[in-house]
């Protein structure tokens, strides 16, 4: 490390410029981290979707219902292990800002199809027995300070009227990525109060299959079974269903990649320009180093080292800051309950910073390496 003094002295040559360059790396990688967190939050459903689950929806659209009578017919298909149904309820708790998804569920099969969402047997049994009962995810309960036994008033919108539910249980995800932001109540209660709208119909079916390898065949069989009926179906894996749901929110990935690319490219130009200026300012000094015997390769690495140190420190701090901020503060918990910078993005952030450091440093470094001492000294 005998060259460290030389490298550090050059780094701190212009402190304001150093701070601004570090800052541009910091901001860019911080933004990258936050974009990765947002993308992860949107795709959470996709990431946690079970490989052995299929979703059956109305071929027309997700918001069109399917007949309840399909349930038994689907269950009879070879390879189907469990089946349950869910219906979107909508509704407002006190204020539209307090959004969280509410579903009318099939209490008999809900836990069989979603074993990763855990509720104690005692709470579940109370829920099954209670016509007006509800189970909510731990994050919703925490958000509104609810505890088992509370009465929850919901103002209906899709299904009009004032609805009241007894909180019978709180479910927890098996791991941190699971969605704990839902509320479930009995589909029977919904059907009873909104006969005209929902009688004999449900939102969609979710089923588990014995062998994920059979998913394609089972999906095909289901859709063929109901072809040319009034309620044709579209069956897909839970993952593609979740992906389609995300796509309805706009092409998030495209936006993120586009914004990220623009930021990345801008950063590259800024840093490349800064490095080029820094090298040009030191032409005479680099020439002297060469004159006293420092090799072309040393000069190349010397200039590159400066660029890499700035990239790694600025970029590294930026991505770490985004990780910390995402861990302690979720700016939109009601919309994106799971908000975290994935470790994969953390690694990718460091790699990106390194790549930008390399790319932005390489051109001025090659220029410095090729510098002819005689020409450089003449310019001084």
């Amino acid at each position: 490390m005998k060259y460290s003094t030389l490298i550090l002295a050059n780094l701190f040559r212009k402190k304001i410029r150093l701070i601004l360059t570090l800052g541009s790396f910091f901001v860019a990688l911080f933004l990258f981290g936050m974009l990765a967190a947002i993308r992860g939050a949107f795709n959470q459903g996709v990431d946690v979707a079970g490989a052995d689950r299929l979703v059956v929806i109305n071929r027309v659209s997700l918001i069109s219902p399917v007949p309840l009578s399909y349930m038994d017919k689907i269950r009879q298909i070879k390879g189907v292990k469990y089946i349950t149904h869910m219906s979107w309820f909508g509704g407002v708790y006190q204020d539209p800002k307090n959004f969280f998804p509410k579903f009318a569920v099939d209490v008999e099969n809900q836990r069989l199809v979603y074993p990763e969402l855990l509720v104690s047997d005692a709470e579940w049994n109370n829920f099954v027995k209670d016509r007006e009962g509800a189970v909510v995810g731990a994050s919703v309960a925490k958000r509104f300070g609810w505890k088992v036994g509370d009465r929850i008033p919901i103002k209906g919108d899709i299904f009009s009227g004032n609805w009241e539910f007894n909180l019978d249980g709180i479910y927890h995800g098996k791991d941190a990525q699971q969605d704990e932001s839902q509320m479930w109540f009995q589909w029977n209660y919904l059907e009873e109060r909104a006969k005209d709208q929902i009688k004999g119909r449900v939102g969609w079916y979710t089923l588990r299959v014995n062998n994920p390898d059979d998913s394609g065949r089972i999906a095909k069989e289901i859709d063929e079974k109901f072809a040319n009926s009034s309620y044709e179906t579209k069956t897909e894996t839970e993952k593609s269903f979740a992906t389609g749901f995300v796509k309805q929110l706009g092409n998030i990935q495209f936006l993120i990649i586009t914004i990220g690319s623009v930021v990345f490219f801008t950063l590259l130009l800024i840093t490349g320009n800064t490095m080029a200026i820094a090298v040009r300012e030191r032409t005479g000094e680099l020439a002297v180093l060469k004159a006293v015997g420092f090799s072309d390769r040393f000069i190349l690495l010397f200039v590159m080292a400066e660029s890499l140190v700035i990239a790694l420190i600025g970029g590294g701090l930026g991505i770490i800051a985004s990780k910390i901020l995402a861990a302690v503060h979720n700016p939109i918990p009601n919309v994106l309950p799971y908000f975290s910078v994935p470790n994969q993005a953390l690694v990718m952030g460091f790699v990106l910073a390194l790549a930008v450091g390399l790319i932005s440093g390489i051109i001025p470094a090659i220029g410095a390496m090729r510098l002819r001492v005689v020409d450089a000294l003449r310019r001084v």
């Binding site: 005998k2 060259y3 003094t5 030389l6 002295a9 050059n10 701190f12 040559r13 005479g284 000094e285 020439a287 002297v288 180093l289 060469k290 004159a291 006293v292 015997g293 420092f294 090799s295 072309d296 002819r372 001492v373 005689v374 000294l377 001084v380």
Partner: protein
């Protein structure tokens, strides 16, 4: 002994034969050096003079391995440097040449100590050994008490002395000084020249110096003029300038 007529022996420290250097500027060929011969022995102190554009600095750059000739050969301490690769030439410079520039060319963000230490970073010396060498070099130039000063905290004369310390710290075979006093006042210039003379007389250093200043050139053992691309001797022993006349040979270490 310094010779410019090509009669010197191959055992000279610096042995130059038929040196040519051409430049192309704006499509025009400029023949700066034409068939130049030079022999310099260990301990010689040579001054090069000549009008601007006569090729003084070009000659110095060629002798220091900073530039390559169009034709001819340069041999230093037995090493033919003319055909060395860029990499080998860089290593050769580190071992054999100490540079002193007119504009000092110190690294402004390094202290005097760190500037002088630079050539030693290329050696295998330990940190302690490097420190010892740097302290010695700074002692020789009389700047032991300015080690931790940055160039901006030193006067021009002091900066040039740091440059000389940097040039001698690795004990090179010879020193190349390009207008070492060109940017200094008379007093500082005299101090620098006194220092260079000490290096020549006491430490037996070989010094080749470019200067515009006849008073500075007078301190050298021999002054050579560049005229029409060749070296012409202006012997102090004879006390006469022989401009335009090719020398038959000049004995170094002449009377002062």
């Amino acid at each position: 002994m310094v010779r410019v007529d090509g009669s010197g022996s191959a055992s000279s420290l610096i042995h130059v034969r038929g040196l040519d250097k051409k430049y192309y500027r704006g499509g025009e060929e400029i023949h700066v050096l034409q068939g130049l011969n030079l022999d310099v022995d260990q301990g010689d102190f040579v001054a090069f003079m000549g009008p601007s554009g006569s090729g003084k600095t070009t000659l110095l750059n060629l002798l220091g391995g900073l530039d390559v000739p169009s034709a001819g050969s340069i041999t230093v301490a037995g090493d033919e440097i003319t055909h060395m690769s860029r990499g080998n030439l860089t290593e050769w410079r580190a071992r054999h040449v100490g540079f002193v520039f007119q504009m000092y060319n110190l690294i402004p963000v390094l202290t005097a100590f760190q500037n002088v230490e630079l050539p030693l970073l290329l050696t295998k010396l330990s940190k302690t050994e490097r420190r010892k060498h740097v302290e010695t070099a700074l002692g020789v130039v009389g700047l032991s008490d300015r080690m931790n000063h940055f160039p901006r905290q030193l006067s021009g004369g002091q900066e040039q002395r740091v440059t000389i310390a940097r040039a001698i710290v690795s004990d090179p075979t010879f020193l190349l000084c390009d207008e070492p006093t060109g940017d200094l006042d008379r007093k500082s210039a005299d101090e620098i020249m006194a220092l260079i003379l000490t290096l020549v007389k006491q430490d037996k250093k070989t010094v080749l110096m470019v200067t515009h200043d006849p008073q500075v050139a007078d301190r050298a053992d021999v002054t050579l003029h560049l005229n029409k691309g060749a070296l012409v001797e202006a012997s102090k022993l004879e006390g006469a300038r022989l401009e335009g006349t090719r020398s038959e040979g000049v004995t170094s270490g002449g009377a002062r």
